[in-house]
């Protein structure tokens, strides 16, 4: 039974390879190059944002960041949560769409840094200075210099 199933799967794989036209292969390669470039861009914007957060927190401190009027910390937290949700969906669907490991790893790395920024913003919103400092330390540890 297993033997027949293995043969069937191999045959299906060979047929699929034959059916896939040269044009499809070229399109697929273009998609992969575009995905690679855009995943890097996402990662880059996340780490650019985290560098700015670290710089603001270090230059102006906890109380300095609290006085921000608009866009205030609530708006920033909302943007972080939306960004984080989109990256979650991308990570989950990457496996089904056979996106390469390197791209998934970059997205996971970006997602982790976003979570640290969310922790920092939540601590600021809750007026919790010690959690703010811990989140800032974590953020700095992972920052790209």
């Amino acid at each position: 039974m297993i033997h027949y199933y293995t043969c069937y799967m191999m045959l299906r794989f060979i047929m699929k390879k034959k059916i896939m036209s040269e044009e499809d292969k070229v399109l697929n390669l273009f998609d992969e190059a575009e995905i690679k470039q855009k995943v890097f861009k996402v990662w880059e914007t996340v780490f650019a944002a985290s560098s700015k957060v670290i710089s603001h927190a270090n230059n102006f401190g906890f109380l300095g960041m609290e006085i921000i009027p608009s866009p205030n910390i609530h708006e920033m937290l909302a943007a972080l949560q939306i960004f984080s949700s989109i990256i979650d969906i991308l990570i989950v669907s990457a496996e089904d769409l056979e996106v390469s490991y390197d791209e998934v790893r970059l997205m996971l790395n970006a997602k982790e840094q976003l979570t640290r920024m969310e922790r920092l913003a939540t601590a600021l919103k809750a007026n919790n200075r010690s959690d703010f400092n811990l989140a800032l330390q974590d953020l700095e540890r992972q920052a790209v210099i």
């Binding site: 697929n28 998609d31 992969e32 575009e34 995905i35 855009k38 995943v39 861009k41 996402v42 914007t45 996340v46 650019a48 944002a49 700015k52 957060v53 710089s55 603001h56 230059n59 102006f60 401190g61 109380l63 300095g64 960041m65 006085i67 921000i68 009027p69 866009p71 708006e75 920033m76 909302a78 943007a79 972080l80 939306i82 960004f83 949700s85 989109i86 990256i87 969906i89 991308l90 989950v92 669907s93 990457a94 769409l97 996106v99």
Partner: protein
């Protein structure tokens, strides 16, 4: 941010790329927000307590 975001899981690589574009837009908006915050903090540096 007054943008509509499509949060449906992509079913093919084209949709995946579209969602990546949306992520890049949100990332840029977040960076713009942070630049505005930075500008405000610099202009009001005397108000901050380190």
């Amino acid at each position: 941010m007054n943008t509509t975001i499509n949060l449906i899981a992509p079913t093919n690589k084209k949709e995946f790329i579209q969602l990546l574009d949306e992520a890049i837009c949100i990332g840029k908006a977040l960076n713009d927000q942070l630049d505005t915050i930075g500008q405000f903090l610099e202009e009001n540096a005397s108000l901050s307590v380190l």
